[in-house]
């Protein structure tokens, strides 16, 4: 068996376990369930860790996999609870807030699916409030590259969010 790079895997785990749990919580609303889902996803990743190219977008993969597992989980739970006599009202959220929550989760997946460098540039500018010049200095790249990465981030987000963009107008109006 080819030796898998456990250290790289551990780094990935330590870096993303918490954000992924936070993300899963947006679906399942229970920390233990969220942790269980994220653990399963890491186990699944480990099984093919040596077959994936080294520059794979693990972050994107992990967020998508957690999302899918959460959706399956909710589907199973729904099936299960429809068998019992759970009070209907408890599960029903208002339409609008459900859409808002879904949009929020889709955006989170879309951002985390950006290629690593691109995501980092976008995050430094939008989250940390760094100017293009500051981002360029911090990453040791040219301002031109920052411009290109920012535009790539926008184009990819637009492509990925597709029909959800309509919702954004709706939400902000």
């Amino acid at each position: 068996m080819a030796a898998k790079n456990l250290q790289a895997f551990e780094t990935l785990f330590r870096q993303l376990f918490k954000p992924l749990c936070g993300f899963a919580m947006k679906y399942v609303r229970d920390l233990d369930e969220a942790k269980g889902i994220v653990h399963d996803v890491f186990i699944q990743l480990w099984e093919k860790f040596d077959q994936l190219p080294e520059d794979s977008n693990y972050r994107g993969y992990l967020f998508t996999a957690v999302r899918n597992r959460c959706l399956n989980h909710l589907r199973d739970r729904k099936k299960f609870s429809s068998l019992s006599d759970a009070p209907e009202g408890a599960r029903i959220e208002e339409n609008r807030s459900m859409e808002a929550a879904e949009l929020e989760r889709e955006i989170e997946v879309a951002i985390n699916m950006l290629p690593e460098r691109c995501r980092l540039v976008f995050e430094m500018n939008r989250q940390d409030g760094l100017s293009y010049i500051q981002v360029a200095e911090k990453l040791g790249i040219s301002v031109k590259t920052v411009e290109a990465q920012m535009s790539k981030a926008l184009a990819l987000l637009r492509e990925r969010l597709g029909e959800f963009l309509v919702l954004i107008i709706f939400m902000s109006s």
Partner: protein, 332 residues
């Protein structure tokens, strides 16, 4: 809109949204937007994508989840180990089957452990990872990579005896009536209750015992030494003699503790320590000056982090080929 222009237009839009544009750029963009309704639509789409990003970062919860990463990592590792030991799992599909297989596996393995402990041999192997285990008498052992430990029975009578290949750290529960013996190649280590490490890899020229606490008797057919805390005994197969000396390697347990200290340590010794601590395969090419020395300490750092520090302090250059890392230059 011209496709070739797309990139540069997107860049201008991104710049404008991030408020990085000059007044001229802003004016040019505005006139482009007004040229065609498709242009305006394109601008608005990207603006929405941009807003989506801002919305995400604003809503990012600052509240930390109560998660202990060390604990979670340990949990995952134990699950990984189970998965590697039971490749049969991958043959199954479907959750029910997987759960059934899991239950069966646990049932079988606990039965096997129980049955083996009765009076069969138990063999514990650590291959790619270090492994901690508790022996039937409550003593604990941490096995280094590529090491194995075997014993017979459940220590309920006679001498507590185990056989080691490779390296392990022992913490032995004291029992004066029942000495604890380790067979390692042509040597025997005997203790009543203490902590120490034994290194006896096949293919290495020596067997070494380093004592952390208590007293250890280390013997071969030709000699016998008593080692105290802080001492180290080295057995040389050619002479079958054991030499005793103070332990000078502060890092003898770094494979277990992941704590490493270098004090004016030569690059060669640094590399040997790292290879032992991380199971890595680092080599130094002949062109690197032998005079390089390192003073640094690391606690729970990844190999990558350690290399990054060495790289910047010694001006190292290295190349990575698969699992091997070759240091090809140093600025010292």
């Amino acid at each position: 809109m011209d496709i070739d222009q797309n990139d540069s237009i997107n860049e201008q839009i991104a710049k404008s949204l991030a408020r990085e544009t000059s007044a001229e750029e802003e004016a040019a963009l505005m006139s482009w937007r007004q040229q065609a309704s498709a242009n305006e639509k394109h601008y608005q789409d990207l603006e929405k994508a941009f807003d989506a990003g801002d919305r995400y970062y604003q809503s990012q919860s600052k509240a930390e989840l109560a998660i202990d990463l060390d604990k979670e990592w340990a949990h995952l590792q134990s699950r990984l180990m189970e998965a590697e030991e039971a490749p049969v799992r991958t043959l199954w599909s479907g959750q029910t089957l997987r759960i059934a297989a899991g239950i069966l596996l646990v049932a079988i393995s606990s039965f096997v452990v129980y049955w083996m402990n009765r009076d069969q041999s138990t063999v514990i192997v650590a291959s790619a990872e270090t492994r901690s285990l508790t022996l039937p008498d409550g003593s604990t052992v941490v096995l280094n990579r590529n090491s194995s430990l075997s014993y017979t029975g459940d220590f309920s009578e006679g001498v507590r005896s185990v056989t080691l290949t490779g390296e392990a750290f022992f913490e032995i529960v004291r029992n004066e009536q029942r000495p604890f013996q380790i067979q390692a190649q042509a040597t025997t280590v005997e203790v009543l209750g203490t902590s120490f490490s034994v290194r006896a890899y096949q293919g290495e020229p020596e067997v070494a015992v380093t004592v952390q606490t208590g007293l250890v008797k280390f013997s071969s057919t030709e000699s016998e030494v008593k080692l105290q805390a802080g001492e180290r005994g080295v057995f040389t197969p050619a002479t079958r003699k054991i030499a005793k000396a103070p332990n000078e390697d502060a890092n003898f347990l770094s494979w277990k503790t992941h704590k490493i200290i270098f004090e004016s340590t030569s690059l060669q010794a640094v590399v040997e320590t790292l290879n032992r601590a991380y199971g890595s395969q680092i080599m130094i090419s002949a062109t690197v000056p032998a005079t390089c020395a390192v003073t640094a300490s690391f606690d729970q750092q990844s190999l990558e982090a350690v290399l990054a520090v060495l790289k910047s302090t010694l001006n190292l250059t290295y190349r990575i080929q698969g699992n091997k890392i070759e240091i090809i230059g140093a600025g010292c």
